[in-house]
Amino acid sequence: MADQIANSPEEKKEERISLLTVLGPAHVWALGVGIVLVGEYMGYNFSVGKGGALGSLISCWFIGLLYTCVAMVDSEVSATVASAGGQYSQAKHIVGPLMAFNVGLYLVFAYTMLEAADALVVGDLMVEAAADMGYPGLDPKPFVVFTIAILAWLNYRGVFMTLTVNFVITAVAFVAIFVLFFAVQGWTPGVSVHHKELLTKLPYGWLGVVAAFQFAIWYYLGIEGTCQAAEEVRSVSRALPLGTITGMMTLLIAASMTWYITAGLLPWEYLGVSLIPQWDAARAFGNPVVKFVMFFGTLFSAVASANGTITDAARAWFAMSRDHYLPVWFGAVHPKYRTPYRSILFLIPVAISFGFTGLLDQVITFSILSGLLGYTFMPINMFKFRRQWPLGTIRRGYVHPFHPFPAVTLFLLCCVTYFATYLGYGTQLLAMMTFYIAASLWFHFHRYKYVKRGDQFQMTWPRPVGY
């Protein structure tokens, strides 16, 4: 691997540049949980508005099952296909170029929209804090832009520092949830949490529970982003499954605790529309220290998420460019910082422009739908992977148990979630499908002729079974 910066044009031609392999399991955990944890501070509560508090809890666990299947299925493939493209590279090797192009776009849009949503949360948080302190009417835009700018700069400067910072702020945000739990004495119902009084029957019946699936995704959306770090991890076969699955366990605990605390402090009608429910719960509790802690918990979770999504979106864009699926110019690596600097820079105005819309639920929906399309691809990918390269034909970094049940379960839950999305956001769902179909047509009829078909396959695998 070329580590040195060449001094003369002749030397430069002989050497290759690469991303740095410096990350460990803790960084993988920080990337995955960091992207997701903001969902435990906001966004998930829209599922309460759809299905009531109990409906949100039911959907939280079903979607938790969906994501557990995602973590299992994705860990097997990503531990074997070690590339910055993550699921894009998996699709390229296992399914084909058109699927890969679509999956790459899903990744870019899911993470860029999530980044915009995180920046919006930071802006909204500052507006709420200012109003709380007697300064209403604050403009959120400078905070939105600064969040994106400083995190893009951190990503530009190096992945090790980026994810080390992410580890620290993610850990603080995770601990803050426990601070709130202990402050409200969550183990003693009736003292501060009043589930008996606040929990109601399902306000919209079981259809509401299904409708809640869409926003319950927000509890866990992004954990699959760990595989974008595959090319920069020191030991892919160990670090990726370890970081991803421990991250999923962390999120299951955080999601359950989040629901328990906020559903016990706030009536579901208010919880279902709150922009920053954890902080609202802390304000309802009334302790200024807890309010202070939850302010920083919310802030850190949003910043950690934006940080991780910049990392992942840029790498997906970079990986696609390297294979000529997008203009190859974006596939450059910075010679000093060893980051995909052009991709990082390019996506900054995209995120800022979506952040400036201020439409949090629309941006979240765009992200969720793109992610959902990616999750639908995963079971198809898994079946083809096992069929074309059965166990024993290639060395796998990790083999997930109980196949095909996780893949089948994942597919079925994705179908239910599409229906849930259609109930509330049918127009957006159709618009997104139309967009991806149009993009696929562009790729097939225009872009694919630029792809170097042999060069894009880097895995030294035997010919697949049946070929």
């Binding site: 430069k12 500052m126 596939g331 900054i348 880097q458 030294t460």
Partner: protein
């Protein structure tokens, strides 16, 4: 002007400095290095196969 408005102004200034820094470094890097070198990275290697090859080399060296 209250503290939040002041923070807002500082955020605008900070954003401008950071974005300017990145754009300046972007142009400096583009002009200071060969484009072929900047675009020379390859997709992640097949790590497991490389580890096996390495272990085989170590075993062969052990036998030798």
């Amino acid at each position: 002007m209250n503290i939040f408005q002041l923070l807002g102004i500082l955020c605008w200034i900070g954003s401008a400095i950071l974005i300017f820094w990145m754009v300046a470094d972007f142009f400096k890097t583009n002009t200071g290095y060969d484009e072929h070198y900047l675009l020379s990275s390859l997709e992640g290697h097949d790590e497991i196969s490389e580890q096996e090859r390495q272990h085989q080399v170590e075993r062969d060296e052990g036998k030798g």
